[in-house]
Amino acid sequence: MFITFSSLRQLIKFETSAKLVGLKFKIVPMPSSIPGRCGPAIEIIEREGEDDLTLVHSLVEELALSQEVNIY
């Protein structure tokens, strides 16, 4: 699962909180499937037995980032 952000500040905000809730992730290049963009994105390393997608969605909502992120 990849998450892209419209700005660095939002990525940093998400990254800081993601660590706190125990998500496992990497900072990765913007996926090539998203054309015309550059910079970092976040790849969530999904954990067995955990509903990471729901966790990501609730984090995005909590941080008021729903207009600023795309989840692939």
Partner: protein, 426 residues
Amino acid sequence: MNIKNVNTSVPREESLFLHPHGHFDNATTSYPKFPILSEMIDSYLENVGGNYGRTFYSRAYQVALAVEETRVLLAKKLGVHKPQNIMFCSGATEALNGVLRGFISSNKEMSTKYNAFNRIEKVWLSPLEHNAVTRTVHRLQVDFDIAVEILPADTDGRINLEECYYLPFTDKDLVIVNHQSNVNGVINPIGELKKVICRKGDDVPLVVDAAQSLSFDVPFIGVEKAGIDALVFSAHKGLMGPTGLGGFYLKNEQLISEWKEGGTASLLIADSMDMPSTSPEKFEAGTLNLVGIYGLKAVLDLEADNLIEGMVVSENDRTRRHQLEDFLLLLDEVKKIPDFTVYAANDSKYQGEIFSIRHRFMSNSELGRKLWEQYNIETRVGVHCALSAHRYLNTIPAGTVRFSPSFFHTANDFQLLVQILYQLGS
């Protein structure tokens, strides 16, 4: 500090300032700096070295974090809730050029695009503006046919709010004010000014030049609360950071257009020929001065008391080595010395840590040279890039000899300076 019974015959060897305590030219650039500044710059160059916002690997991400943390520290300093409204550039001069051009040219030619204000037709300036403002406004006056007026002020150049109250400001006006003069240290009432210029209901934009007033260790006025539309700062003066770095706060990114185009740290529109429309990316084309930002962050972290344990050494002690009262006492003593004319605020409540002098008989260059050659005292001599201020203070064409102490000067240093000026004055 106790400056009494000043001995006017201090032997030269006792009067010598030890380097760097002779540096009374901190309004030009602050010196010395905290050791942590060069440590962090070295660390960036040797261990980090990434660019900001362009890519994903850990060194680059580390830089992104550092830049955004610096923005947050500056926003806290300025009382600004949105750190993204703080932009970096090469210094206060670039920021003033860009912001003033943005307000004036945007409002004339791009009003259909932004519609934030009506076309600016008149610019109001304080009488103590730096050339970065006056030369830019002069150029814009030629290019855009705007009127320029000087705000009413007292004899020391401080804006007179009572008289401003009756002026007919409208939203076709732009007001630009120097927060602290780089010639006589006068502090202007920027906290109250926005209310006065907007009292008739029009939103009159206010731009503040805080290059001389923003200090890393002294609380600053709440910029957002004061309603200031744009505020410009420099990193290498009171903020004790490196040269080549400054920036500005903008209340609303749509107030002005960007003044340069190029690559940005935007993650959103790399496939567009237009610059991003959101701040800070809209105003930060090209690679930022990351070396400088690392250095500035180190100093602002000192204020935030956020150093890694063990890194604080005595040289990085953030306690100012003198109080404002010590400086004001120095000023009082200098005013008593015969044959010197002192240029300072009429009321010490509005005095920042800068003043100028002229001697009745000795030229400024001779005085400056004697201070340097005989006492290792570094001053600025002549016209201090503020022609308008010198005209107002009637110190044209020779200018003044200017003193601007450092964070590290002590009350004893001030006492020594008074003794030396007594010697030279007599």
